[in-house]
Amino acid sequence: MPENFTQLAEWKLTEGYISAIMRGIGGDHMARGSENAQVTGTGLTRASRAPLLVAGKTGSRIFFNTDQSYAGLGTAALNGSGSVFNVKSLLTYIGTGQLNFAGAAIPGVLASSTLSFIKKAGGFYVPGPTTGPFQAGHAQPSPPTIFANDTPAAGHTQMSGAVVVYIWRVSSIDGQPSLASYASNILVLSGQDVIVQVPAADANAQDIWGIGVVKVGFEEFGVGYQLPTSIGGEVKEADLTTINGITRATEISWSNGDLFGADLIPDRAFPPPAGDFAGVMMDTVWLDSAGIIYIGDPGFIGSFPPKNAAFAPEAAVAYLAAGEGVTVRFGTTRIGVLYYVGGSPAIEYRTVIENQGILYPQNAFLGYQGRICAWLGRPTVLQLSGTNFEADFGYSNRVAEFDTWASQQTANKPITGFYDGLGQYECWCLGRQIFARHAPTGKWNAPENVTDKVTGDIVAGVPVNLPGIGHAGYFSCSNGAGALTLYQYDAGTGSVMKIQTSEFSRMNYGGDVTMIMSEGRADNTSHPVRIQLVSDYNDGAPIDDPLEGEPEQTPTDTGTQSFTLREPNAIDAAGKHAVLVTMTSEGGDCGINRIVTYGSTEEVETR
């Protein structure tokens, strides 16, 4: 044992990865040079399991959680934008790109500026005449033609006086009416009832006609009331018949008392305008058209009275439904919120953060416990400070690499965020690199380099509910051609983990590093554990593992263990050194718990 032999440094690596820190001041973190090492809920670091290819599924360019699963828009060749959501059990969408659901393309269904929907049948979304896709809303119909009927059928009322009739289209799929027609021709009845002849139904899922009338004697100057359904106020297209030689007809009659308390005929069912984004909050659908936000009538998917519009100061880049009654709207320079207030219009908008925004929809996502994460020049989380909304830039101040990211992102290589609920990681990706933050502890994983594990750049991500397991982080990769490949985060067959400790620095002290003790966990007995010494910041030329190539370098057992002692006898390294450990995992529990260096110390004379 040499003179002055002592413990030099000890690292437990409890602080995660920190690169935005001065070298030489120590710390229990993973330093630059570390790779594919993760912080876990146990406080131990673990080798990344690497991405797992989700076989048989296709990815998207943007993702949405909907209908207990995930949907997306876009292909490798064509980017996606817009919204996909579920309302009234209908998969509803707007924007651009191929519509995908649960990792499969819905054949022939492309999003456009038209708010559209497709109905699920037999557990699948398959296009067809009865399933769609259909367009939200209906065109106002022509008025009906009405005829006096001298011989009312049983159960009908004889009526006397002037009347008119209104009609409107209704779809039983979404319950959506059209605006009511203009009034029919006028009839002056005398002990008669009315045969109503309706025009052709539309092919936009209409299968019902709504019927409205005036009080008897009020003809077209009267108020239009919805005829109660109990007396024929709705007739199915299939139930129309020929009566007295009149085709496409139904017979109706009413008394003025029947109209007591009846609703007025629909006068707010304006079909939706062209839009870029849409969504639903509680019972109300909204649609954003270049900054004009049309608020739908509660309960309807295609009723957008123009007077219900709200305004945002710029076009949107993305929307995030942040929980019941709150949806965050991201522009390039402003962040706002749509929130549910009830009544009509049921939704209001307010800008909450000025001079901050995102460039691409993938830049924002819902993170741990539903918090809102956004790339605003670097990763942030939005939070409330009293009654003010603000972005917490301290969220990512441990990672210096983010400083260089903004200039590298493009529409085809966006900075992509997603949440992995299994490991509780908020993941930030650029190209084929992932920085993940273990949300409960606020500590960062070492950067994950997935270059040799994926087919292209990461373009979108989404948490996916795996029944009985939890919400896994899925992401898609694009190489600009072919299909988008889908991967599950941190579920693969292992990676090559590198952990470089912080610098142990005694400045004016020299001495030798004579011994490195380490404890860790191995998940295999096939791959060596390489332990090298980085002396005097010389990252490019670490001192070789003294056991390099020796059988003792490879664990003989799996699980927690002390790795074979290294005796590097690194001359003059004791004053300033770090340790670099390289382990190859096979997808199990593999990591480093503790590293200790020993050696001699000598004071260096300074003048």
Binding site: V109, L110, S112, S113, T114, P127, P129, P133, Q135, A139, Q140, S142, P143, T145, S160, G161, A162, Y182, A183, N185, V188, S190, P199, A200, D202, A203, N204, E220, T247, R248, F270, P271, P272, P273, A274, I292, P306, A309, F311, A312, P313, A322, G323, E324, G325, V326, V337, Y339, Y340, E348, Y349, R350, T351, Q369, R371, I372, Q383, L384, T387, F389
Partner: protein, 165 residues
């Protein structure tokens, strides 16, 4: 988090702030909102046309294909392109109706019948009866340039079109 956000947003002072912002923005963007149902329907029809054309395959005679052609007819009708709407309409009655509308628009401003301009309906309790203009509104449509009101004669059913000011 979302509940906390909602609580803050629903506070009276926050809603006041939102209302003030909306007032400002409405001044700037308010005139971009289309409020005329004829124009709203026109733009909706244009979207529907684009959407259908995206899905339509050439020579598709299947049920799906026929359904798409009906939707295309709806789309053209919403844009006051009644000649094209008639071409793809599913029923002869609908084709006939659209042709009448198209003819009326082609002769906009001209009444398509020579019936009296007033129609009288006898009423039991009013010796004068009910006296109305003989043309009743059927539809207001926009063709991308002009808004037309289609009106039906209460005497003979002829459809005429008139350009709205």
């Amino acid at each position: 988090m979302s509940q906390q956000m909602l609580d803050v947003l629903l506070a009276p002072e926050s809603r006041q702030k939102a209302a003030e912002e909306q007032e400002q923005l409405r001044k700037v963007y308010g005139d971009r909102i289309v409020t005329d149902p004829a124009l709203v329907t026109f733009y909706w029809g244009k979207q529907l046309e684009n959407s259908v054309l995206q899905q339509l395959q050439p020579d598709d005679f299947s049920e799906d294909g026929q359904h798409l052609l009906q939707r295309l007819s709806d789309a053209y009708a919403a844009q006051a392109r009644f000649t094209e709407a008639a071409e793809f309409a599913a029923s002869d009655e609908q084709k006939e109706t659209y042709r009448k509308y198209a003819a009326a628009i082609a002769h906009a401003g001209e009444r398509q019948c020579s019936c009296p301009s007033v129609i009288k309906y006898p009423l039991k309790d009013n010796a004068k009866g009910l006296q109305l203009e003989s043309l009743g509104d059927v539809l207001r449509v926009f063709d991308g340039e002009r808004v037309f009101t289609l009106r039906a004669c209460r005497h003979c059913g002829a459809i005429s079109a008139f350009v709205n000011a």
